[in-house]
Every structure is written in structure tokens, then in C-alpha cells.
Amino acid sequence: MTDQAAPVTAGSQAAGSFPGDEPPEVLIGYYREMVLIRKFELTADQMYKRAKIGGYCHLNLGEEATVVGLMAALQEKDYLFTNYRDHGYALSRGMDPGRVMAELFGKSTGVAKGRGGSMHLFDTKTRMLGGYGIVGGQLPPATGAALALTLHGKPGPDAEAVMCQMGDGTTNIGAFHESLNLAAIWNLPIVYVIVNNRLGMGTTVEAASGEPLLYKRGASYRMPGERVDGNDVVAVREAAQAALDRARVDRQPGLLEVMSFRLRGHSVVDPARYRSAADVEEAQAADPVPAFRAQLLSAGVFTEEQAVQIEDDATEKVASAVAFADSSPAPTPDELFDFAYATPVANAPQALPGQPAAAREPRL
């Protein structure tokens, strides 16, 4: 058995008893979110190929149960930091799909006013404090956000916490280790979540990691580490919730490894030729969206008709998002220096290419 196929250490794994005590509307809600992410990402892929979206574009295809499970555990008052594979988190966190699509389109109505793009979704209202494009870059700021929470408030069941998502490749960068260490010595209310989709671009976890059981890396910092099946939305939620509770109440930082699959390449332009047929087959077989659909149907949580309705609604929502993004204005060059500084400052540079930085004063 490979390390990546090793059993999970947390989660309900309640396949036999599904849906257990889960209220049907909750499960249907998860399916609705998962389908929205799926449709949004498939559409983003199309829009990229039509050159409506520029730059890099990383999709959550195959990670829908992971995203929705994590976001179900995170409360409104909590803060979220993610990496650049962030569209699903933004949607699940409650950002308007139109404004997310508008950001991808580089429009003024985008969640970051068209300044960030796909990798840098951000919204203070839903407390998703970015979308970060540099691998590992989000970890120290997320850790600092948790530090600020300890300076602002007291621990307890109502306390705020921080979730910091990252990919498997991030566990090898220094910022990961520095951040976990700081969280441990300062007892910070933060849960670090590794979405292990088994590939850092084209490099496998085994090839990149001295300890490929990534959840064990918390042990260096006496931080509880757990691994959960990322295709089981309820299991993901429960594991994340338990870790968040420990963060809130005990100020015990945690590390959660969520085993997932990437259905496509690293980004939309990556054909993923480095993947074996068996690997792709495994990922497709584990696809959480049809699997959850089948599970809900067979458990009688919803009917085929209801499922189709949810899927049609998602299609409709994404179509409106595209229409909104398409019809939104692009920022204009006169706005270029907006947001250069939060506190206005004397002599802030304003030169466009070819313009002098210092005004010429001809000698008479």
C-alpha cells in the first residue's frame, strides 16, 4: 500500500449508516454547493479557453467535497486563508459567483476589483483574506491573524479561529515549518489544512516529501495531525470542526490532511501528461460529485428530479455569473494608481511608461 492510499485517521467513514443523523436539507445543501463549484470550474475552464480569463487559472475540479466540507466547518466569524486554487472556497464562503467570475475576467466588479485575478480572491465581508499565489505565502499571515485573535479576545466555544488551507507541496517550504512552530509556541487558534491531491504540479508527494504521511509533520510541533478522506464531505466537516473546536476552546493549533484528487492538470493549460492512465482512472472513479449524488439518491435524501433541479439551478447561476462578468466594466487606466497606498503620501510615484519621474523645469 502506498503512503497516499494509507487509511485515514479521522472522520465518520459512516458509509454503512449514511445518512445517519444528518438532516436531509444539510446534505442537499452540500450537494448544491458541490455542483455549483463543479459547474463554475467547468465554465471557468471554457472561459479561459475563450481568452475571457487570463494568467494562471487553477481549478478545484475533483476537490468539491473537500472544499464544501471544510467550509461547512468554518463559521462566519472565522477567517480563511487559502492558496491560489481558491475559486471553490470563495463560492462556498458565500462570495457572489458573479463577482468571483468578474474577478477572473479582470473586471471592476470583481471581488478584488480586477486587481488580483483567479489566484487572489479576497473579501473582508466573508472573511476570506486571500487567495495567495506564492506557495506557502499564506501561512505566516494566517498565523499572524490567529495571533491577532489572541490579542483581541479570550478562548472559548464562541471564539474566532483561523483556517489556513494549502496544497501538499507546501509542506516542504520553510514557511510551513516556521508557521507551525510559531502557532505551537504561541498556542494560536488556527487549523492548517493540507489538501493532498497527491501532486504538486507534476511531482508526487512521495518524490517531494521525506515524510509522505503529511499529517505526521505536525508531530515536530506537538500539533495533533489527522488525515481524512477528502471525498467524504461529512467526514471532512467533522474532522475540521473538531480541529477548529480545539483551536477555539483550547488554543490548540491543528494540522488536517485531506486526501483528495485533482481531476485535471495543475492549471487549465496543463494537459497532465505526466499522469498514468491508472492514476487518472482512480481520480475519476473517486469523483466526489457523482458519488455524492448517487449516495443521496440511494439513501432517498433526494429524488432524481430534485437532483436535476439543483444541477439546472447551478447551471443557471453560473450562466448569470458569466453574463454579469461579461457586462461589467473593465477598470480604466486612470485608476492605475488607486490603492497604491492606504495612507496617502507625498511624492507617490505616478509616472506611466515613458513619463519622467521628475518634472523638467526648462532654464530660461
Partner: protein, 330 residues
């Protein structure tokens, strides 16, 4: 006006800001129990406690980044990095994060933080502990970079930096910590982005910052006795750069020498020279000259260190050369 040291001015200002605003807190290596490698934070742990004067492990990328995240949630962290050299291991957080977060996310969250560190060589600390890489940060939009040369400016610029909503790199200098000067009592807030004419003159302008300002003022006083009137512009802010102040000065004096602590190529002086080409070309009687550090990893041996670093004798020599080139008559 009371006279105090640059070090004490920094210490007093940190204390005043910690007292004034409960969101201000300090973090860095050895700033608490050890009271700071250069004793800038002496006494503050005892006064404000370990939450607000927070010792960190040796993890610059981690704690600089943590300050960013805390600032995003409304705190006003003041980070001490032991020397500029060690900021290089935090440069991803400074350049890719602190400098970007406000603009890249569409102005949704400011990052009100200060990163203090001393630059400077001349203490036989050898190549990795003597660098003047302020231009790396001065190059980056989104950052503000200030470099006080006097105790009074140390107070007024640090106060401004802490109250500013942007990430401010606050450049100190090892050789300035023990210098003394008059510091006005009460609240003093400098305007970031403004240079100052710290000595008026008519024959030549020396444009400089930080340690260089002290050298330039001494040199100017020395040359005064010979009937040479040197104007000294202290940049104070390396980003934004107050081009108008030094261009106006050079339009008056027609001669310019830049004294900088960094390496010659691509340095502060290169930027100032280019700015003078734009803003004062028609007034220049001679090419702009630069007095900068020799481009070598700074050697330990004293004789080599002295040879590599710009000093008053280098400045005097270059000033005389410029004056001689332009038929200056004393």
C-alpha cells in the same frame, strides 16, 4: 531642547506609541528578555509584558509574515529584524505579501506595520552582516522606506511610520545609534515622502541619507572654512523619493554629488542621477557624481573595510573634483 541619542529616541518613541495605542505591539528576536541586540527595546518588556513585546524564535519569514496577518486584523505590529541582512530570509513576506496585499486585493485591507532594522558596515562584521540593501526595498511599490539620520527624525519618522496604514521599512544604521542630537518634546510626526534641506548652500548640493547625512554635514562645515558653500539634502524617505526637493536644490547650486552607503551599480545614486537628468539637466554645470561603496562583499580586515566604504575624505575629494571641473573660484 533636550539632547538625546538616536537609540534613546527610538526607545522613547516605541514606549510612547505602545502607551498611546493598545493595537501597537512589538515582535522580533531577542527584543524582550535580552532587551534587543542593540538595546533599542530596553525596558519595554518589563513595562508592557510579553504579549506586547514578543520575543520570537529565529524565523524571520514566519514572524514578519505573522506581523502582516496581525496587521490585516487591525493590529499595528512593529517588527524588529536584528539587521537588514537577516531581512533577506523574510523577503518573500515583505515583497510578495506586505507590499502587495493592499493593492492586489483591491484596497480591502491595509497592512499597517513597521519593519525596523539597522543597515551599515564599518564594524568589522564582514560580508554577510554589513550590507546596505535598502535599495531592494526602495524599488518596490507598496512599501514605504524611511531612513532617519538624526535622533529627532528617528522619533518623528518612527511615529509617522507606526501611525501609517502601509507597510513601512524603517532603516536604522549601526553607526548612528550612539549619535546625539536635540529632540523636541511632545508628539512629533514627520511627513513620509519628504526630503529636507538640512544645510543651505549655494555652490554644490550633496544628496544623501542616514549615516551619509552626518558625514555630509561635517564635510560641509569643514568646507565652509574654505569659502565653499555646500547644501545638504537629507532624503529621509527613499520611497517615495522627494525628487522635487533635490532637483530644486541642484537648480540653485548647479552641481550635485550623491553620497550613498550602498554599492555603486543600480544604487540610490543611480536613481538620483537619473532624476536630476529629468528635473535639473538644464541647470547642471558638471556631471552628477556618486560616492558609493566599492562593489565587493565587504571584507573583514580593517584596512580593506575602510577602503571599501565611502567616508568623509572620499566625499571631500569628489566635491573638490566637481568644483575644479567647473572653474569654481573660491
Amino acid at each position: 531642547m533636550p539632547t538625546t541619542s538616536y537609540r534613546q529616541a527610538l526607545n522613547d518613541t516605541l514606549r510612547a506609541e505602545l502607551t498611546r495605542d493598545e493595537n501597537v505591539f512589538l515582535l522580533g528576536e531577542e527584543i524582550g528578555i535580552f532587551e534587543g541586540s542593540y538595546k533599542i527595546t530596553a525596558g519595554l518588556l518589563k513595562e508592557f509584558g510579553p504579549e506586547r513585546v514578543r520575543d520570537t524564535p529565529i524565523a524571520e519569514e514566519g514572524f514578519v509574515g505573522a506581523a502582516i496577518g496581525a496587521a490585516m486584523l487591525g493590529m499595528r505590529p512593529v517588527v524588529e529584524i536584528m539587521t537588514l541582512n537577516f531581512s533577506l530570509v523574510a523577503i518573500d513576506q515583505i515583497v510578495n505579501h506586505a507590499a502587495k496585499i493592499y493593492g492586489m486585493f483591491g484596497g480591502q485591507t491595509p497592512v499597517p506595520m513597521v519593519i525596523r532594522f539597522p543597515g551599515g558596515g564599518g564594524q568589522q562584521l564582514a560580508a554577510t552582516h554589513s550590507q546596505n540593501l535598502e535599495v531592494w526595498y526602495a524599488h518596490v511599490p507598496g512599501l514605504k522606506v524611511v531612513a532617519p539620520s538624526t535622533p529627532a527624525d528617528a522619533k518623528a519618522l518612527l511615529t509617522a511610520a507606526i501611525r501609517d496604514d502601509d507597510p513601512v521599512i524603517f532603516l536604522e544604521n549601526l553607526s548612528l545609534y550612539n549619535t546625539k542630537g536635540e529632540v523636541p518634546d511632545g508628539e512629533q510626526i514627520a511627513e513620509i515622502g519628504k526630503a529636507a534641506v538640512v544645510k543651505e548652500g549655494t555652490d554644490l548640493t550633496v544628496i544623501t541619507y542616514s549615516r551619509g547625512t552626518v558625514i555630509a554635514l561635517e564635510t560641509a562645515r569643514q568646507l565652509e572654512d574654505e569659502g565653499i558653500s555646500v547644501e545638504v539634502v537629507d532624503l529621509r524617505s527613499l520611497r517615495p523619493l522627494d525628487r522635487e526637493t533635490f532637483c530644486a536644490s541642484v537648480r540653485k547650486t548647479s552641481r550635485a554629488v550623491v553620497l550613498e552607503d550602498d554599492w555603486l551599480s543600480y544604487g540610490i545614486g543611480a536613481e538620483i542621477s537619473a532624476s536630476l537628468m529629468e528635473g535639473a539637466f538644464d541647470y547642471l554645470d558638471a556631471p552628477v557624481r556618486r560616492v558609493a561603496a566599492a562593489e565587493v562583499p565587504l571584507p573583514y580586515a580593517k584596512a580593506l573595510e575602510v577602503a571599501a566604504l565611502p567616508d568623509a575624505s572620499d566625499l571631500v575629494r569628489v566635491i573638490r573634483e566637481v568644483l575644479d571641473d567647473t572653474s569654481f573660484s573660491r
